[in-house]
Subunit: 140 residues, 2 copies
DNA sequence: GTTCCTGCAAAAGCTTTGCAGAAGA
DNA sequence: TCTTCTGCAAAGCTTTTGCAGGAAC
């Protein structure tokens, strides 16, 4: 059994989140598919092996996991939300041509927001937009 | 007449964007209301003095202005898009309690994305989430 | 006259809500 | 038993699309 998945289960227990079968499946999926999936992709893929799963449960689970800080909500898209296992210190690049989302390393923790004295900062996100190398070369 | 607004009009001309009455009104609104308004707020406010304005035109205009780089698209919310006159080098903080969006200074230009060799970067956004001072003090 | 823009209505797509039944402690 | 979770259906909201009329040049 995957050790890091066991760690995630342990983390759920510590946060007093019930480990239902569906929730574990969603968490396992996010752990295995670190490609910033949409709700629809998570649902469609999991539905293949778990035909009774409903989209409502996926939404519900993702909200619980996001509120607990275990998954990161990615709103780089303007029309749909993506989710990712929470890993610190990386940004997201969206190709405006093909829509693909790429991770990149960036020192987010060192970002200081001037003028935020007295604010409680819970999460930081860095989003870049542009054109990826694939689409750049296809234009030629 | 506001000088900076005249500059904006000049910028539109240079980008070959027709200066229709509605487009100028939307641009003027964004110039005077730097509060990251939603489409609905822009439409509702402008509709008061321009009763024939349609929401479709607001959407259409914002798309044109965003594609030209004159306005910045803010997707810090997961359910609606906000728009801002494009000003460099500032981030956006969203209070998860009251929903208010605050600007803050941050040196975005100095952010280097490691692993983005060969990518064409067109825009950079920094989003923080947390609780604002007002909501923090109200909790006591 | 041709092109582009506007605005109404309808449709589309993502997300939330209500509620009844099931699962778990 | 009591609480929580699941899943279906319906509703809600933002955004997009189709199309006819109008404005601008």
């Amino acid at each position: 059994m995957n050790t890091s998945f066991e760690n995630l289960k342990q983390e759920l227990k510590e946060k007093n989140i019930n480990l239902s079968y569906q929730r574990l499946k969603v968490l396992e999926y996010l752990n295995n598919n670190r490609c910033h999936p949409t709700v629809d992709k998570i649902y469609t893929d999991l539905h293949k092996e778990l035909s009774t799963l409903s989209k409502t449960t996926v939404y519900n689970t993702l909200r619980v996991l996001a509120e607990s800080g275990m998954v990161r909500v990615i709103t780089i898209e303007d029309n749909e939300t993506r989710y990712d296992i929470n890993v610190e210190n990386h940004g997201h690049f969206k190709c405006d041509s093909c829509g693909e989302i790429y991770d990149f390393s960036v020192n987010i923790d060192s970002l200081i927001g001037e003028g935020l004295d007295g604010f409680m900062i819970n999460s930081k996100n860095v989003y870049f937009n542009g054109i990826c190398p694939n689409c750049l070369s296809n234009k030629n």
